[in-house]
Amino acid sequence: MSDKTAVAKETKRAVNRKDMTRAQWTIHEMKRNWIAYVMIAPFMIVFCMFTVVPVVLSFILSFSTFNMLEMPDFIFMDNYIRLFLDDDIFTIALQNTLIFAAITGPVSYLMSFMLAWFINELEPRVRAVVTLIFYAPNISGAVYLIWQVAFSGDTYGYVNGMLIYLGIISTPIQFFQNATYIMPLCIVVALWTSLGAAFLSFIAGLQIVDRSLYEAGAVDGVRNRWQELWYITLPSMKPQLMFGAVMAITGSFGFGGIVTALCGFPSVDYAAHTIMHHLEDYGGQRFEIGYASAIATLLFAMMIGANVLVKKILSKVGE
């Protein structure tokens, strides 16, 4: 860049904020930083097209009868009324989703934190190996299908084989076709794959807690590792705890794919039918887009609601 423009830039910078109204100042700042908008534009265009617009669109369509064939009618809350009053399967789905999320979310969160905390004091090299072992199921794609093999209904299923061998049962149990076992099994598998970004964030967060705080704490009468955790570690890790919570919540509502892979779709007696499946059923198969949009909007509201709630709870940590 030539000297001239640099000088011009400097004079521009010297404009006094007090001479202008707020709006004028904003416009002035926007012009001065126009390059920022250029840099952010490609990302924001794609992001808006495939994330923002779909969310807004599904909110709008949820008040209509859109089905991709006929002209949509505006029916206001009818889709939502139908969901709660006329759709028995949705009630099951809602219940299953809440149970699923209420268990996998907090458990995976606590598991991520406790394990990260436990391995924090290991030798760096050992810690790297243990981190890999815990994290691997999360990144290994379809490897969770091994659980299906392990719990498969014939005698080749290891669990059935074992139970028969030990004389506990005489005929194999159809684990993934039995309404009693489906949910607990899916939850176990979901937890097995759930040590992800939150876990890594906790590991990293624990590493950067200021060491001198622990020494100061020991002087001030922190007696054991639990007090240390509550009074020193957790308060200094609040930002990581928040990020981890967001990841855990998103994950706990997003296990539909694993459930489908393990028990098929739809699952027996809708025993593992979640809102994600209901959405897929109406949106992807019956093309009742309006109705599916109402489901999607509800799911969206549930996730955001869970985030707000957890944020409130986390603000109490260490107080």
Partner: protein
């Protein structure tokens, strides 16, 4: 990650022997729970046919063989769409999607972290908000958008949305904020450097861990992408999809399915091993302030 607490140091602070033992036991139990299924898949893929169905199941292999992998390729060469096509699709989608995401997200991250322009606060709020819900929410309406763009059944439907994936942007922005000093950028600007110049020549080299992390996350997500509602033609489907078809093939294909699972997981795991320390370094700044 240099400030590591060594074992010696912690003993001085409040540690009880009972607590240490308890923690070790818990770690071992969880370790087994996490590790055994993975280990079993690997062992299973190395077993010859006669060992695979030994009863009760064995957690070791007597005569290891690579025959399952060979069988997998024979099996795949018989399929209607050549096996190599599935691999090509997955590699193409993963590489293009990751590359685009890297460019778009790091440019946006630089602007959000280092240029004080009006509106950056709420733009970042929206990005954070997008981390709070799962993409199933947008699946159906995204399909409408894809069909409006005539992208259904094309690579675009899988590649382009990946460019706008927010986790990478979020991590990159947080990392830039803490590790690229404003003073350095400011002095470059005073010397007349353009924002693009400072972005490419000053900021990017300083945030290598963050872009490695972004690459890993983006790549892993795309690599593991399976069946998609946007893709109908068999020749555009992914490796992961092909493998899930084999795995559901049942007992007769137990060897091949174990082999394919191993092939599938070997890539993300290797990538993670190589980049682990960089990822942890990036994650240290992942925290969310209110």
């Amino acid at each position: 990650m240099k400030k590591l607490r060594t074992r010696k140091h912690t003993v001085v602070l409040n540690r009880s022997v009972g607590g240490d033992a308890g923690i070790t036991i818990i770690l071992i139990l969880f370790g087994l729970f996490m590790f055994l299924p993975m280990y079993y898949v690997v062992i299973q893929s190395l077993k010859p046919m006669d060992e695979m169905f030994v009863y009760p199941p064995r957690f070791y292999v007597v005569k290891p063989t690579l025959k399952n992998f060979a069988n997998l390729f024979t099996l795949m060469s018989d399929s209607w769409v050549p096996f190599s096509r599935y691999i090509f699709n997955t590699v193409l989608i993963s590489v293009c999607g990751t590359f685009g995401n890297l460019i778009f997200a790091s440019m946006a991250a630089y602007a959000l972290a280092k240029i004080k322009f009006p509106g950056r606060g709420w733009i970042f709020q929206v990005v954070v908000l997008s981390l709070m819900f799962h993409s199933t929410v947008t699946g159906i309406t995204n399909f409408l958008i894809m069909s409006y763009l005539h992208w259904v059944d094309t690579y675009f439907a899988l590649i382009i949305p990946a460019f706008g994936s927010t986790l990478g942007l979020y991590l990159m922005k947080q990392f830039m904020e803490s590790s690229v000093s404003d003073a350095v950028l400011e002095s470059a600007r005073l010397d007349g450097a353009s924002e693009f110049y400072t972005f490419i020549n000053i900021a990017m080299p300083m945030v290598k861990p963050a872009w490695l992390t972004l690459i890993v996350y983006s790549f892993q997500g795309l690599w593991n992408s399976g069946a998609s509602i946007y893709i109908q033609s068999e020749q555009l489907k992914t490796f992961n999809y092909a493998i899930s078809q084999i795995i559901t093939g049942g007992v007769a294909r137990a060897g091949a399915s174990a082999a394919s699972t191993v092939l599938m997981m070997i890539v993300p795991i290797t990538v993670f091993i190589i980049t682990q320390s960089n990822i942890i370094e990036t994650m240290a700044t992942s925290g969310m302030k209110d």
